[in-house]
């Protein structure tokens, strides 16, 4: 389609004007100066006018027409380029860099090149921001964990320092107690040393007494030995008396026998003989009594000698023991002296220990304060890490509003999945299989589901490894209506992918966000919405 430009009309009018001026000029000259004007002038002016017209046509009109056609072509191409550029910019506005790149083929080389550079720059920038935001999130998570661990460790350290402080205070008290006891021990050791000296003197006196006793025991033993000898002499005398008594007895018997033989003449003699026999008998009985007494005496004497020997042995033993005791007391005195000195040193050392313990307690209190401040700082750091994590998430969500040629671009990723699902949207089991495969390949996904154009959920799969055995709320499940959800409305309104701001999951109670993409059929008509809920806690694994 061509259009007559004003510039072309003006050219035609100029040509007509020149022709009319040439012809008019010839007519005016012929009428004004009929005799004086030569014929060649009257004839030449129109010729010149026609010549001028021809020159004009050749030099002005025809190039102008060519230029106008060229300009029209440029205008048409410009209009097309502007349309394509507008569409590309609209795709850019929507953040769909993939679609924007697809629009490059409709642009001129210059525009295509510029658009490609711009899209690439934006892709690079957004991809870099995405990657950096994830790195920031990971770093903030690591900082958060580290800060939490350090905070926990600091708390434990604070508790440990408090405990150590209490222990050191106890140690200080114990050291003070030990110092007191050591001082008391030193005094006792001094007293004991004095008592040891008195004991040594007493033992020395006891030794002298025991020596004297042993001498007396020896004297008693000698006296007993002498008594034993005298007893044996008495035994000899008794034996002699007994012998005499026996002889007397025999004599009296013989006298009685003779008196009996003498008959009545011997009766008086028999009486005497019987008296003699009785005396001999009494002598024997007396000897027996004396011997019994002497036996008792000898027995007692032997017992006494034995007792004396035992006493002497015991006295010797006691003497040896007393000497050993004296040596032990001497050693004890030395030990007590050393003990007194050691106790004084212990008292001094424990006093120094108490002072050192006090210093340690003071230092520990300072450490406790530092640890407390550190714990507080770590808590602040943890909070800052949380904020950083939130900021990373916000940046990530901001970047996820763009669709890039990147596996980290959720819109692009799940649009790909929506294209795979598109042919199976009406087959529940097949759709469910795709959704399960999606969760397997994207473990950071909490739930994924498919909603038809009426907003009714037709398929639903939960990541059981993430939610465990938690029950689904009544409002979630196949057959439930989601037409009022912003992500559904967004997709149905703009036919594009939507990333929602973070919100609290009704199932896990944790923060999550939803990526919703339209599922288009072969004709490009939206026949459903694929929704993917991503847990904020695991979004850094994208």
């Amino acid at each position: 389609m061509t259009r007559e430009t004003p510039h072309g009309s003006r050219s035609v009018l100029g040509l007509v004007f020149f022709a009319l001026v040439g012809l008019g000029g010839g007519v005016v000259l012929e009428a004004s100066f009929p005799e004086s004007t030569p014929d060649w002038i009257v004839t030449g002016v129109p010729v010149l006018a026609l010549l001028a017209v021809a020159i004009y046509v050749v030099t002005v009109y025809l190039p102008q027409r060519r230029l106008e056609k060229e300009l029209e072509r440029y205008r048409v191409d410009y209009t097309r380029q502007c349309g394509a550029l507008r569409v590309a910019l609209e795709q850019l506005r929507r953040g769909d860099l993939v679609a924007a790149r697809e629009q490059e083929k409709h642009l001129s080389d210059d525009f295509r090149h510029s658009m490609r550079l711009a899209v690439r720059a934006m892709e690079g920038l957004i991809g870099e921001i995405q990657k950096d935001s994830i790195e920031v999130a990971k770093a903030s998570l690591a900082v958060h964990r580290t800060a939490s661990e350090l905070a926990s460790g600091s708390s434990q350290q604070a508790a440990a320092v408090v405990e150590i402080t209490a222990t050191m205070e106890e140690v200080a008290k114990t050291a003070a107690h030990i110092a007191t006891r050591a001082s008391r021990q030193a005094e006792l050791a001094v007293h004991s040393e004095e008592a040891g000296e008195a004991g040594a003197e007493a033992v020395a006196r006891a030794l002298d007494g025991m020596e004297s006793t042993r001498g007396k025991m020896d004297a008693i033993a000698a006296r007993a030995e002498a008594l034993g000898r005298r007893s044996r002499e008495i035994y000899g005398v008794l034996e002699l008396i007994n012998e005499i008594a026996q002889e007397t007895h025999i004599l009296s018997l013989n006298a009685s026998i003779e008196a009996t033989a003498a008959g009545e003449y011997g009766e008086r003699f028999a009486v005497v003989a019987d008296e003699v026999r009785r005396l001999a008998e009494r002598s024997r009985e007396s000897v027996d009594s004396v011997r019994a007494l002497l036996d008792d005496f000898s027995g007692s004497l032997r017992d006494m000698v034995a007792a004396t020997d035992e006493g002497r042995d015991a006295a010797s033993g006691v003497l040896e023991q007393a000497r050993s005791a004296a040596q032990a007391i001497d050693a004890l005195r030395g030990a007590l002296s050393e003990t007194a000195q050691a106790s004084q040193e212990i008292s001094l050392a424990t006093s120094e220990q108490r002072s050192a313990s006090d210093q340690v307690v003071t230092a520990l209190r300072e450490i406790s304060s530092v640890v407390q401040r550190t714990a507080e700082g770590l808590q602040e750091l943890s909070a800052t890490a949380d904020q950083l994590d939130d900021l990373g998430l916000a940046i990530q969500l901001l970047t996820q509003s763009f669709r890039l040629h990147s596996p980290r671009s959720l819109k692009h990723l799940f649009l790909g999945w929506s294209q795979r699902i598109a042919g199976f949207a009406s087959h529940g089991e097949a759709t469910r299989g795709f959704l399960e495969q999606l969760i397997q390949e994207c473990p950071y996904v909490e739930f994924t589901y498919l909603v038809d154009t009426e907003g009714i959920m037709v398929a639903f799969v939960a990541n059981r490894q993430m939610i465990g055995g938690k029950e689904l709320p009544p409002g979630v499940g196949i057959g439930k209506l989601f037409s009022e959800r912003p992500w559904f409305k967004g997709v149905m309104r703009d036919d594009v992918a939507v990333v929602t701001p973070p919100y609290q999951s009704m199932v896990t109670g944790e923060d999550c966000f939803t990526v919703a993409v339209g599922v288009q059929n072969e004709a490009g008509r939206v026949e459903g919405v694929l929704g993917v809920d991503i847990n904020v806690g695991s979004w850094a694994n994208i």
Binding site: E247, I250, I257, A270
Partner: protein, 134 residues
Amino acid sequence: MTRAEYLLVTMGGRRCGIPAERVITVLRRVGIHAFPAEEAAFLGLARYSSDAVGVFDGATLFGLRESPGPEPAEPVVIMVSGGAGRTSEPFGLLVEEAERMVSVGEEGETLPSPEEMLICDPANLVASRGRDKP
């Protein structure tokens, strides 16, 4: 009842009465020299009044035991007469103890029971064995 005198001795642990008319004398510390003989009670020979007389273990001789026991602590030899007279055919009886003379009769003391005093008369002993062997 006529009056009778006995020498009260101890033989083989028993108290025995030897009639006084048979007792010649009582001896202590008599040296007994062993002499071979078939008689179990024969202990040996002893010197008495320039004669050698046989000495017998009283208890064995009177049948109170079969053979002589150990020598007593205070051996006493009672010289008794085995013949008709008081001093005829003397021989010795080794006893453990010669206690005293006891008189039994009208004015004497009561004779101990047989369990308390066994009458051991050498004359009966000689009579039963023949006069050659007291």
